[in-house]
Amino acid sequence: MASESGTLTSSEYISHHLTNLTFGKLPAGTTRYDGTVVGESGTWTFAHGTEAADMGFWALNVDTMFWSVGLGLLFIWLFQKVAKSATAGVPGNTQNFVESIIEFIDDNVKSIFHHKNDLVAPLSLTIFVWVFLMNAMDLVPVDWIPFVASEMGISYMKVVPTTDVNATLGMALSVFGLIIYYSVKEKGVGGFLAELSLQPLGKWMLPFNLFLELVGLFAKPVSLALRLFGNMYAGEMIFILIALMPFWIQWILSVPWAIFHILVITLQAFIFMVLTIVYMAMAHDHH
């Protein structure tokens, strides 16, 4: 499929496939990819090549948002359809499928999280299914959607939202916010601070304790985000590298890798979910 990209070199092909479609404002004085210089008031445009870096924070990865929201809506639509017609009688195929997922999540939540909280189970369900769907975009052959997009005039299209660190970090930080919120709600500000500073070594080692606990606290969202991102990014990279090979060898490599990846995408969604439940349980537990 590298041949379809024609004139691109291998490294250009790879970096093209790993670049998001970013919309943002280029500041004044930036030299664009075609050599023109952005005028006085800057310009709102889609980034080309490395221009996304010049846009700074106030830019949006349109492809990431499009696919993640689209897949989220797919999840919501499917589950809400079942929820609306949910019957205690004999379930249909779709309801059966949805129920088995819900029971799976419910079992996991009940075995880890022993407090009263109506948010945790739906949160876990959303994480598991949504992350799974986003990861599953990995299994679509790497050139199909970008090719269609480029035919439509869209030059960059990264279809796996979880290979964008913004997406995983956005979710991880939301979970982090919930951890802080429930820690404070359950233990009070004082209790939470005491938990951060008075253990594991007692009050005479307070600064050391605080340092240790803060590192542990901030490691939670970072590890959550980077684990998912790293796994999916690496997997996508392998698919891209396989796509660079001659066509007759591609399927020999990409099929086993795709089959293996079915395991990885499920596992990563599951790990993200379980860790979230564990963190929520830790936030509720009094030490």
């Binding site: 846009m55 924070f57 589950f79 929820a83 129920e99 949504w130 930080l173």
Partner: protein, 156 residues
Amino acid sequence: MNINLTIIGQAIAFAIFVIFCMKYVWPPITAALAERKSKIAEGLDAADRAERDLQLAKEKAAADMRQSKDEAAAIIEQANKRANQIIDEAKEQAREEAERVKNAAQAEIEQEANRAKEALRAQVAVLAVAGAEKILEASIDEQAHAQLVEKLAAEL
């Protein structure tokens, strides 16, 4: 790989999906699951109960059967007894009747015999007188000898 606004966009989308899920997806489905669970429990309960009822009914039927058999046997026994009794009674009656008839016959025979004796006696007296008349050839005063003849007849 730039950190940008997408991080907030993703967080907002995440929050919306979670809230939607919490409001409209999770409760109805888990409610349906719980309802089905209780329905199944009820069904199993009912099955258990029905089985117990069946067992009881079977036992009751067997007991009824046993009782009926006992009753039937008692009735048959009673009937046999009664039959025997009736036969005995009939026998007794027949015997009594026979006795009675026999007695009556005997009494009649006796009566007849007495009557015949009486008749004979009367005739013997006459015959004796006639015999004596013949023997004596004399005229004997019947009246004078009547007493003697009657005495003779009474001795017969």
